[in-house]
Symmetry: C2
Subunit: 315 residues, 2 copies
């Protein structure tokens, strides 16, 4: 598909539904709400849907948004690689033929839509969206620029990760020209933590265990600790990245209690170890630097099993 064909679709239809993925992040919301505003600016009707509610921490993205009343005519999925990511409250869209167009940047995209524009090289779906808008030659609003900046910044870890391409920097340089409050956005997305989150971090770091001359670190999140912190589930997101941030650590492991004798294991590795292969040994899987699995047993038993596997791969 070309950008011209996508723009023709925007022009030749009138009532759009934009689907964003469940457990929404900055990129699916940023690109979804940017597209919605772009279509409305074209005089179209458009709504953004999500299986979950829109999280409060992204409120500046849907600032000023209100749902419109209309009979949907054309469905666009953004940043959705697989119908499984649509979520249970929007399961009608997971059926074959329900989605007309998918705009995405995941290499794992399943091409479930009638038409798909997938660019796995793009750092974010919002980057593709920006390129489409730019190609159109239409003016975009400051609010659209905020949404797109947020999508690109969040999916690249604020330009930190390997997936950051030069075009991501250039797009954001151009988006900054709209006078967006990018420092506020970045502070909100990357720096600000709730007191509950602070407390949890402090506790897990304080009890971090080191093995194999500090090459492996382990944090344990028991149900008791999580309940006592007073933090809610969303505040435990991203904790799994902490063990690997310690200097010298090659494999960082997070052991999170799901139920009595059931533990979710999250593994993060640096250049030397394949996290996905590590987790496969326990029936799990994932990416080369980030993977997960579930192990049943008592905490000591679970830790023993993991450390035996670490010993096999550590050197």
């Amino acid at each position: 598909m070309t950008f011209r064909e996508i723009l023709d679709i925007f022009e030749n239809n009138d009532k759009f539904v934009i689907l964003t993925h469940k457990s929404p992040d900055g990129d699916t919301l940023g690109s979804g709400f940017a597209l919605c505003a772009f279509l409305r600016d074209m005089g179209k009707k458009a709504n953004v849907l999500n299986s979950d509610s829109f999280p409060e921490r992204y409120d500046f993205i849907y600032d000023g948004y209100y749902p419109q009343e209309f009979e949907p005519q054309y469905v666009i999925a953004v940043d959705i690689a697989d119908t499984q990511l649509i979520g249970s409250n929007l399961s009608q869209f997971a059926e074959e033929g329900a989605i007309d167009l998918c705009i995405d940047h995941h290499i794992s995209n399943k091409y479930f839509a009638k038409q798909s524009y997938v660019d796995p090289n793009a750092s974010a779906a919002a980057l593709i969206m920006y390129q489409i808008f730019k190609y159109s030659g239409r003016e975009i609003s400051r609010q659209i620029a905020r949404c797109l900046y947020t999508g690109i910044a969040t999916d690249t870890g604020c330009f930190k990760y390997e997936n950051t391409i030069p075009e991501a920097h250039i797009a954001c340089a151009e988006l900054m020209a709209y006078g967006i409050d990018f420092a506020f956005i970045n502070r909100k997305m990357f720096d600000v933590k709730s007191r509950g989150r602070m407390k949890v971090e402090q506790s897990v770091i304080g009890n971090m265990e080191y093995y194999f001359n500090g090459k492996c670190s382990v944090i344990v999140l028991t149900k008791k600790l999580m309940e006592e912190s007073g933090a809610d589930a969303a505040e435990f997101e991203g904790l799994a990245s902490i063990p690997l941030t310690v200097e010298g650590v090659k494999i960082g492991i997070t052991v999170k209690q799901r139920h009595e004798n059931v533990y979710k294991i999250s593994v993060r590795t640096n250049e030397d170890i394949d996290a996905s292969a590590f987790c496969k040994a326990f029936g799990g899987g994932g990416h080369i630097r980030a993977a997960g699995c579930e192990i049943h047993g008592g905490l000591d038993e679970v830790k023993r099993l993991i450390l035996e596997q670490v010993e096999r791969v550590i050197d």
Copy 2:
């Protein structure tokens, strides 16, 4: 001064000393070593000096660097706003007339050198350096690109802070074309922490105090805590940003013990409060979002004085 004049200086002199500021950071080292390599590539002799030793965490910046033997002829200060920042081991350069050229981006630059190029709008000294190199039309090496990227990334908090200008993004997009390992650099600069640092963070977060309905947070670093952590001075850098990361906090204060009854106060604020004005009340100063001062007295007395001042500005 024009870039042409600066390049003429590079061409018309042969033996350069490049001064970087004490307690060196990624920008002074990045721009200093980039300039050194650029001059050497021009066939000149050049060394980088620092009053302190070059910190190990920046080892990839001075990778392959070796000091040359020569009688200095021309002295260039980079990222140095004031002769007080040269440091005690290089105090000979703090004397009037000792520095020929200063290239800097601090608005507070004291114009102590015979000639100065100061661009307070530039996000980093490394950004100015990149602009000079680009203007010259000379090829730069991948190592120079790494140094410049590091300077820009560190001084902007990885493009997060308000001082990030579009040109910073564009420069880094261009520097990425040299095939630099920017994700490695960012991981090392922003994510990896020593065990000592982890321990210190854990301790200060655990003892963080909140005032005025959580709008003000205070951390205290006593000499005892710092000694017991086993971490060295460099590992305490940047701790002052922690209090402001708590949700709802408008003014974050770090009280660091220098000596018995002498405390260094670091103040960080969000949009609502002027940190510089806050610190001026105690004879200090700085920027609108980050400032500092020194207060003499016992810890309780110092905290009382600070909180009285917070009460005056908090609403």
